[in-house]
């Protein structure tokens, strides 16, 4: 193998590129792929196979490559399983062979090859069965170490990737003659066209063969069409883009290699994961050439004939002395053409009778073996009962062509067998809106490709309601294609089907003998087609061998299921923009900057970020701060930003009636200026959410939801309104974002507000009123989630930051201060107030002791189901309080509760702990729990067992309201 002196349509020879392979400094030129530059440098051995560690070389020139998988250094880490055929060469590219040690030339695991008689299909299943005790400790680590192709980088990979959407009228996948013709016809008619091509260059097979179109070189015709497409504003050409999956609704997944060909891509995304939505799609992905399973067909130097032609024409790679082994008319015609172009073709071998009118010797026969330790030296063939050995550098195989119909089968459509071309072809309408053209449809002539491309475009335009006149097709060859299938050569020695996973014809036959006669079972037993190439070049051969072994027909045996992705897709591209701070949207309150300035660690609450606590100098840990903040509220005054609670504005003549329907209790009786606690159920009778409902005026309510359930409640209310009472005059809109709202709680709350408002309105507990604060219209609610006298003050969000600053300063002046989520949690546990730790989707109003809130006088969402027998009664887990018997003994949420004399087994479980805190007010660990028949068991002692954290403690069941059970502190 070497570089030819002339030619190479893809190359810019003026620009030399230095790169390295396995530590060797080599030189390629601009336009090379890693594969073509290795071949041009005479490197044939470029990897080892998966199981037997056999030497492997480049076999194809496209994304279907099973052999030349290597590691490439990108962004400081070695990335495995890079197909050398798809990696464009760039200055400084650093690649190395994988699956070998210490080197690709001398790989100690190649001993597996000598053991191959023992390593056939199902080796692992049979060998690592006994004894059972060895499964996890011995066998699994052993197998894991040997398994897998390549090794992933072990560090976090932070290189930028992108995700993007695109929409078009017509998506054309593949830019060979059929795809180009289709895109041109549709684009000229005005359709928005996206043309995707896997390769760097558009043109498909035209770039690699010498097809004549319109009396000139096909490549010239393609260049003309591309120039025209490029000039049209309604066309987007997307080279380096593999469409990898077809999904419902005309959605296609595609992977664009944006900067993997650059030496220093910087912040340019490495790849872009596209979701393309197309009204119509034309699949013009061509066909993949098949190898032939003959003994020792895996030796480096054995390549597909079409790939050799591609390397010859596009990359000026001279394959040296070539022997061609084919079984179809294309193979012979291509051999002739390549010989005429100067390739040193020594012989053409075909099991069919071949005319001798060729510039090279022809043999009717088969290849039955090859020789050469790290690369092919000679080919042995069988001809008229004799064995003949021919010296050769390259063996070119052509076993026929498989239409690349994968995408057409992604929605579970099954292709049909075409005896004429001995291949599966797509049926119509396997994917709605998708038409298959050209070689992908089994139409192999250039004329056929152009014609089917044009026709499909006309049909697509028709479906889009656009009109065009049929184009005049350029002149091109329309020769028929004839093939005599040859799936395996019957001779001694191992003949490979799946080169990446080392599956031979013998493995498939053995699978069939052992009962794995279904193609899906054979695949899993032998691992046929399960390597990164997903059997693109081998599945067809394997199922033919299986059909032969079982005495069935090929169409009767059928294909395995085609699933996305068509080519490997990096997780980094699929997850682009979805890690770190971009993992989910972040929501910040208006007090966020001030809170952080005060040194508070932030914790996530839904999408929101809220302060955990406010550390001060001398704090031993967070609990010191939490205790201080709790006691501020109990003894002075505390301030907390509660803007994250969902706020929904409900208005209209039917607003009260609507709220009666969605809350379990009655809101229509609420007087303007008053607030009521409300409970919402799901229709299945379980609690959905709780919150407050304030009547601002006769037809105007403001309701609140918990922070995490705000979206769910909005969806639910919209549903009830649109499904059951669309004609009621009520409208809902979220105002969560519009208002900043702060709690002021504690015995000194009135004093603080007096300073702020000057004139504090005389609000009763659960009252609300409009107020003016600092010249701004605001809303004041006298409600409490802490059990202290408390208010919530709401201002338009633009004033939120300033309000919070003032409130904190005033509170600090009164001996209190800001409090965070930890203190908020302690305060509410001390009062037995529930959150979604208790409202976990499985509890009923009865469970929480709130059955009194279920109105008997009206229908409401969840009423009927809440009355079902098993949703109430002593078998239910009921809300209780827990006190640690030793008040200083820590208890934990999530722990389970058992009778003291019973083991921690599910059968004895009495319930579980939902929330805990250390209460500085009561100087004790407290908890809330859901306990079977709990309300009747106050005073009973249970054992708390947290197996996960190793915590055990005795706890006493009690009233969940630990502090001020009469509620005088907040009410009076």
């Amino acid at each position: 193998m070497k570089r030819r002196d002339t030619g190479g349509s893809a190359l810019n020879r003026a620009r030399k590129l230095g790169f390295s392979f396995d530590g060797r400094a080599l030189t390629g030129v601009e336009g090379d792929t890693l594969a073509s530059s290795l071949l041009a440098n005479g490197v044939r051995l470029c990897g080892r196979s998966f199981k037997y560690h056999r030497p492997r070389g480049v076999m194809t020139a496209g994304s279907e490559e099973p052999n030349a998988l290597m590691e490439v250094l990108r962004d400081g880490a070695w990335h495995p399983n890079i197909r050398a055929t798809m990696q464009e060469l760039h200055q400084g590219l650093n690649a190395r062979a994988q699956n070998c040690w210490p080197s690709v030339q001398c790989d100690v695991m190649a001993v597996n090859d000598l053991l191959s008689p023992f390593l056939g299909a199902g080796f692992y299943y049979k060998t690592f069965m006994w004894p059972r005790a060895f499964w996890e400790g011995l066998y699994e680590p052993l197998i894991r170490r040997a398994a897998g192709l390549g090794r992933l980088p072990q560090s976090h990979q932070g290189a930028p990737h992108e995700k993007a959407f695109a929409f078009c009228d017509l998506l054309v996948i593949g830019s060979g003659p059929a795809g180009l013709m289709a895109a041109l016809v549709a684009a000229k008619a005005g359709a928005d066209v996206i043309l995707c091509e896997e390769d760097r260059q558009m043109g498909g097979r035209i770039l690699s063969d010498m097809a004549q179109i319109d009396g000139g070189a096909g490549a010239d015709w393609a260049a003309g069409v591309l120039a025209e497409l490029e000039s049209l504003p309604n066309v987007r050409l997307m080279p380096r883009t593999s469409v990898f999956g077809a999904y419902d609704g005309g959605v296609y997944g595609a992977l664009e290699r944006v900067s993997l060909h650059m030496t220093a891509p910087g912040r340019t995304p490495r790849e872009c994961y596209w979701r393309i939505t197309a009204k119509r799609t034309i699949l013009a992905t061509g066909a993949l050439e098949r190898p032939i399973a003959h003994p020792d067909n895996d030796r480096p130097g054995t390549m597909l004939l079409g790939a050799i032609a591609s390397y010859w024409h596009r990359f000026a790679v001279d394959p040296g002395r070539v022997v061609v082994f084919g079984n179809n008319d294309h193979a012979l015609a291509k051999a002739r053409a390549l010989a005429a172009d100067g390739m040193d073709i020594r012989a053409y071998i075909d099991p069919r009778e071949v005319s001798a009118d060729t510039p090279f010797k022809t043999y009717q026969g088969e290849v039955i073996g090859t020789r050469g330790r790290h690369g092919l030296h000679s080919v042995t063939l069988r001809h008229q009962g004799r064995e003949i050995r021919l010296d050769a550098d390259t063996l070119a195989l052509s076993g026929g062509w498989n239409p690349s119909l994968h995408l057409a089968c992604h929605m579970n459509g099954r292709p049909v067998w075409d005896e004429g071309i001995a291949a599966f072809v797509p049926r119509d309408a396997m994917v709605p809106g998708l038409q298959v053209v050209g070689a992908a449809a089994g139409i192999f002539s250039t004329h056929g490709a152009l014609d089917s491309g044009a026709r499909a475009a006309m049909q697509a335009l028709d479906a889009l309601g656009m009109h065009a006149t049929p184009p005049d097709l350029p002149q091109s060859e329309d020769t028929p294609y004839a093939i005599t299938p040859l799936w395996q050569v019957q001779a001694r020695g191992r003949a490979w089907l799946d080169f990446a996973n080392d599956v031979t014809t013998k493995d498939v036959a053995q699978a069939a003998r052992e009962g794995f006669v279904s193609v899906e079972h054979m695949k899993r037993y032998t691992t046929q087609g399960m390597a990164p190439d997903q059997g693109k070049s081998s599945n067809m051969g394997a199922l033919a061998v299986l059909a032969d072994a079982t005495g069935g027909s090929i169409p009767g045996t059928g294909t395995t299921t085609f699933r996305p992705p068509f080519v490997p897709v990096s997780i980094a591209a699929l997850g682009a923009g979805g890690y770190g701070p971009s993992f989910a949207p972040q929501r910040f309150t208006t007090s966020d900057a001030q809170t952080r300035k005060m040194g508070a660690p932030m914790i996530e609450a839904g999408l929101w970020y809220r302060p955990s606590h406010f550390p001060r100098a001398g704090d031993r840990d967070w609990r010191c701060a939490c205790n201080r903040e709790t006691l501020h509220v109990r003894h002075a005054v505390g301030v907390c930003d509660v803007s994250t609670l969902g706020k929904i504005d409900v208005q209209g003549p039917d607003a009260a009636r609507f709220l009666d329907f969605v809350y379990t209790n009655t809101m229509s009786s609420l007087k303007p200026g008053r607030v009521r606690y409300g409970l919402m159920l799901r229709e299945d009778g379980h609690v959905m959410d709780d919150g407050t409902c304030a009547r601002l005026s006769g037809q105007h309510f403001l309701i609140t939801t918990t922070t995490a359930a705000a979206g769910e409640v909005m969806r639910h209310l919209d549903f009830v309104q649109q499904a059951y009472c669309a004609d009621w005059a009520v409208r809902l809109i979220s105002v969560t974002e519009a208002w900043a709202q702060c709690t002021i709680a504690g015995p000194l709350a009135d004093e603080l507000l007096g300073h702020l408002l000057g004139d504090l309105p005389d609000l009763p507990f659960m009252g609300c009123a409009p107020v003016t604060v600092g010249g701004v219209d605001a809303r004041l609610f006298r409600i409490s989630f802490s059990g202290e006298r408390g208010y919530e003050l709401a201002v338009p969000a633009r004033y939120g930051a300033d309000l919070y600053r003032h409130l904190v300063a005033l509170a600090e002046g009164l001996g209190g201060g800001a409090y965070g989520m930890e203190a908020l949690n302690v305060l509410r546990i001390e009062k037995g107030f529930v959150t979604h730790a208790e409202i976990d989707g499985r509890v009923t109003a009865f469970d929480l002791g709130l059955q009194g809130m279920l109105s008997q006088k009206k229908d409401f969402i969840g009423r009927a189901a809440s009355q079902r027998p098993r949703l109430t009664g002593p078998t239910r887990l009921q809300l209780v309080g827990l006190r640690a018997v030793d008040p200083q003994s820590e208890i934990t949420a999530g722990a389970h509760l058992y009778p003291g004399d019973k083991p921690a087994k599910a059968a004895y479980g009495q319930g579980h702990v939902t929330s805990v805190c250390y209460s500085p007010t009561l100087d004790s660990w407290l908890g809330l729990a859901l306990v079977e028949n709990g309300r009747a068991r106050h005073g009973e002692t249970l054992r708390l067992d947290d197996g996960l954290r190793g915590i055990r403690a005795d706890v006493e069941i009690c009233n969940p309201v630990f502090f001020d059970p009469e509620g005088g502190r907040m009410r009076d």
């Binding site: 993007a164 695109a166 929409f167 309150t589 009621w728 338009p796 969000a797 004033y799």
Partner: protein
Amino acid sequence: MIKLKETSAVAQLRLPTLTGCTLRALPPVRITSIAPYPGQMDALRAHLGGFPAPGEVVTLQGTDLVWAGRDLAFAFGADLPDGLDAFCALCDQSDGWCGFALEGAGAGALLARRLPFDLREMTAPASARSVLDHLPVLVVRRSSDRFEIWVWRSMVQSALARL
């Protein structure tokens, strides 16, 4: 007696530099949501002088009525006539939303990459509700290469990171 000061949600932010278009924060504007009650649409239209159908933007004497959801329009700008509340629910949304203008020849192409709906269907002036990578957005197309993107105040930083 104190006087509360306004804080801008966008003034402190560094806006990303984009190629082919410019991004700038829009000044705060009065936004009132208008949600007509069932059966009141015609009366409301008569009273207001118009009301946007889904996807529409209607301009009335300096006030833009932008379709913003089911049975919902946002009035951007000047005061609304009195007496509307007989036909619809009105709610001040001025503080809930932050707007950005995206302008330039590349604005449409950039947005089209980021939004999961077919931007070709928006013929200016037009509005659409969608998501920007899970963030709710209101997109208003003012002309072929001028867009407004409105996002929730609390999500401004996340929204910018996604452009």
